[in-house]
Amino acid sequence: MHELLLFASVPTHQHEELLQQLAGLTAMQPRHCLERRLIFKAYRKPGLANARVGASQDLQSGDLQRVNKMLNGGMFYTQVVGPVHTSDFADAGVTPDAPTSSNNDANANPSPADPDTKMDGMDESTAIPTSTYDFDQQSWNLEFRDIPEAGTRSAVTARVMASAALPRGDIVPSMNAWGYSFVTEYLVEGDMFVHNDIVIYLHRVLHYPNSPGEEREPRHQLPAFQQMSPLEKSGSYVLQASITVQDGSNQETMKTASQHLFGLREQLKSAVRLEMADRLSLDTRAK
């Protein structure tokens, strides 16, 4: 499958207004989405021998060639997406580090400049069973995105995509078995609209309160939603208009799809400027 995309940056002050405009355009109420996104990186397992061990070319069967190609092909980052609800987050009133932190300043922020309390607060998630979040029932979806196609004349970002449903619960063992290691995770918060074939997703990336890189595995508990901090400090949003095409080799449908996107761009011209993204900024290859 192929995915065609256009992006626009939306400053915070325009967010409300744009939501209303999009609701009017698409004649639907925004669907609020919260998604956990886990980033996995492919790695070559040690000990996987290069299959070309002194055999002559004709002995290498087609299957073996294919396996070789898969094993030695490009490595990609891939993400695992799990939808969550607002109710899955911890109560806002309870600060995760309140029981453990000896500090008497009652600010709701788990102070990032205080790594010690965080370290011994590893059991903080178990200390607050206020949320109804059940990690073992969390559903996951594997989403693979290739680097956008280079050298396309058309002014849209086009890339190969694939997604697959994964089993519920702890996904890391399965991913490890497939040759992926967990890198980090973040949260995407946004509103989704559907305009004919186009999915319009107005979203922003939120970081967990702890500094990223601390965690070695996906969180089993979610902090209070208010403690999430936006990646972009100004709190601005990204407007993403995407359309998926079943058969990317069919020029006709690809053209139709990009024309739909251009039509949307024209309609939204007075509000936001939709444009294609920088190709290298969407590079998913693992170096």
Binding site: M1, A27, M28, R31, M192, V194, N196, D197, I198, V199, I243, T244, V245, Q246, D247, N250, E252, T253, T256, A257
Partner: protein, 647 residues
């Protein structure tokens, strides 16, 4: 220059033999007379008169001249005149030159170089450049009276102009006032419409005018786009709903029930309000009309796909054979058409049925709209070259399924009632059977209120199920008929799942799914026959023991043995091989008959105490009795069996 003399300066127009073509003539006329626009009758008449005058004179002159002038004289005259003309021309030229010189000289004071170019050489010689000057000379003061006159006249003019200006301003003011009034009225009514909750927006194609959205966003695009009409302002400021080319007037889908050739039920048009001219009413009416139009459109679409059910569509009529002799007619009619309100011989029941069908169609269309919204807001599937199919809505099929189901269920119910009644009238203590109509509807949905409505409607799209249950004569035996009617997806129609539990016949299998009600009837009748046979044959074990033991207490305790229970045949064995007696039981809806006869009966022994109509056989028939009381005037079937066995 006393007498007028004309000289043809233009060449003489010769009349050519062939007439000029029209364009040439038009060009000619244009050249000669100027634009046609300036030519009117008056001008032409005056020209004509002038020409007449001239021509007359010329003619008369010529006539006169011809008489008294010969050619030489004419020539002389001609030369003389020519000389005269030349003279005039010369004189005028000279005068012009003088004037030019004068002006040049005058100007040479201020612009010597420019003026010099137009000066004649002679003047340059005689007069030095710039030797002439001009000055403004104040005229002598006019007399008082003239001044006064002028002042008066100008004052009069001014007053007149002021007056007309004032009139114009007043006119403009009053026009503006009227306009403001009209605009106020218009905007007030627009606001009133908006306050009632209608969506007011600019028209997409006509940015400067307002429109009101009354249609249904989820309707088929053709009808969705019709749901927008512009709000125009009449001259007096009243609001006009402009629906474009769409015919106004309210229409509705009429549902009629037809039994045989008689229309027995019909829906009425919706109530039309008294103030039908108010804008709200107009909008409501427009909305209803677009809904009804869409409804009929979708009905026709669905009806076409239902041709296999015998549904026929014409231009403006859908005929649906529902159940039994009932036929549903659907058409789109004008609500205000008085000719429709002819009272047919309508039955109350069918009118209610028609109303029910009409309501269900509308509810289902609204439901389909909601489903459309639901589908539209889902993440769309990937784009493919194939167009996504647009399936027909389920508007008629649920109603049709209901009608068929209820007809079939009633039939089955009455059949079971009748056949058990037949058994009861023959003295069997047959237990009451129970029927649960629409059993799958009655399982109440305890759902959240938001989805309760939709799940309620969607449950009506599911196959309808009714269950008939009853116990049989034999202990621990029962039967169940599960009837499902489904019009939405194949297999269409009613299906019966007949199952029973009859332990006394172990090798009996349930017939399973049946499709025809005749088959079901046969299955139930057969089942009950088996039950009766088993009942007859099993009786001695409990009651015949005490009944017959008192009477005879004979040694072999002979009793009926079911030899061919599926044929309803029982056998009474005797010691004597010639005297085997057989009983054959037949059961139908209306009657139960027991027939006994001797097998290989040759000696013609009279048997039985009751009517012996023939020598070797004895028959007893119990008919269905519709009055439940009066147990039976005859003896019961069991008594007959007992009597037969003991004879």
């Amino acid at each position: 220059m006393a007498d007028p003399f004309t000289l043809p300066l233009r060449p003489v127009v010769e009349k050519s033999d062939r007439p000029d073509t029209l364009p040439v003539e038009i060009a000619q006329i244009n050249e000669q007379w100027g634009n046609f626009r300036n030519v009117n009758e008056e001008v032409l008449l005056s020209k004509l008169a002038e020409e007449e005058e001239y021509g007359g004179n010329v003619d008369s002159d010529e006539n006169d001249d011809k008489k008294d002038m010969d050619t030489t004289e004419r020539k002389e005259e001609l030369y003389k005149k020519r000389a005269e003309i030349t003279q005039f021309a010369m004189a005028s030229h000279m005068e012009t030159m003088f004037a030019l010189d004068f002006v040049s000289l005058l100007l040479s004071k201020h612009a010597p170089r420019q003026a010099e170019t137009s000066m004649s050489a002679f003047l340059k010689q005689v007069a030095p450049v710039g030797s002439l000057n001009s000055e403004v000379v104040h005229p002598p003061p006019k007399p008082e009276s003239a001044n006064k006159d002028i002042a008066t006249v100008s004052r009069g003019w001014r007053i007149q102009n002021f007056n007309s200006a004032a009139n114009k301003l007043l006119g403009a003011a009053s026009r503006l006032e009227k306009e403001v009034e009209a605009e106020t009225k218009y905007w007030n009514s627009v606001l009133a419409v908006k306050d009632q909750g209608w969506k007011i927006s600019r028209l997409p194609r006509e940015r400067q005018s307002l429109g009101v959205q009354y249609g249904f966003l989820e309707a088929t695009p053709a009808f969705r786009d019709r749901g927008l009409a512009s709000l125009r302002r009449a001259n007096d400021g009243s609001l006009v709903l402009d629906q474009g080319l769409v015919p106004t007037g309210s229409r509705f889908v009429r549902v009629r029930m037809k039994r045989g050739s008689k229309v027995t039920g019909c829906t009425k048009a919706g109530t039309t309000s008294s103030d039908a001219d108010s804008i709200e009413q107009r909008i409501l009416q427009a909305r209803d009309s677009v809904f009804e139009d869409e409804l009929f459109h979708e009905l026709v679409r669905e009806a076409r796909s239902m041709a296999s059910f015998g549904v026929t569509t014409r231009q403006n009529l859908i005929q649906i054979p529902a159940a039994d002799d009932l036929e549903i007619l659907l058409d789109l009619v004008d609500a205000n058409d008085d000719s429709l309100s002819i009272e047919e011989e309508s039955s109350h029941h069918d009118s209610i049925l028609a109303d029910g069908v009409a309501h269900s169609m509308r509810i289902l269309l609204s439901f389909a709209h909601r489903q459309n919204l639901h589908r539209r807001t889902q993440i769309p599937p990937p784009l493919t070259p194939k167009r996504r199919p647009n399936p027909e809505y389920h508007l008629l099929r649920p109603a049709l399924a209901y009608l068929q189901h209820i007809s079939q269920a009633r039939y089955l119910e009455s059949f079971i009632h009748d056949i058990t009644g037949t058994l009861r009238s023959s003295g069997f203590q047959f237990p009451e059977s129970t029927s649960k109509m629409f059993s799958n509807w009655k399982s109440s949905h305890q759902l959240s209120s938001a989805n309760a409505l939709e799940s309620l409607v969607s449950s009506s799209l599911q196959p309808i199920e009714s269950v008939f249950q009853g116990n049989l004569l034999m202990p621990n035996s029962s039967f169940t008929v599960r009837m499902k009617t489904n019009m939405s997806f194949p297999p269409f129609g009613s299906q019966y799942d007949v199952s029973f539990n009859l332990p006394s016949i172990s090798d009996l299998k349930s017939p399973g799914n049946l499709n025809l009600r005749e088959e079901v009837e046969a299955a139930i009748a057969h089942l009950l026959l088996l039950d009766v046979v088993m009942k007859v044959s099993s009786t001695p074990k409990d009651e015949n023991e005490k009944a017959s033991s008192t009477s005879s207490n004979n040694q072999d305790s002979k009793w009926w043995i079911p030899i061919y229970p599926h044929m309803g045949e029982l056998l009474l064995t005797y010691n004597h091989p010639e005297k085997h007696k057989k009983m054959r039981i037949t059961l139908s809806r209306e009657q139960l008959s027991l027939e006994t006869y001797l097998v290989r009966n040759i000696d013609g022994v009279s048997i039985g105490a009751t009517e012996d109509r023939s020598l070797d056989s004895n028959t007893k028939i119990w008919k269905l009795q519709h009055s439940p009381d009066s147990p039976n005037q005859h003896s019961s079937a069991m008594a007959f069996a007992v009597a037969e066995s003991s004879s």
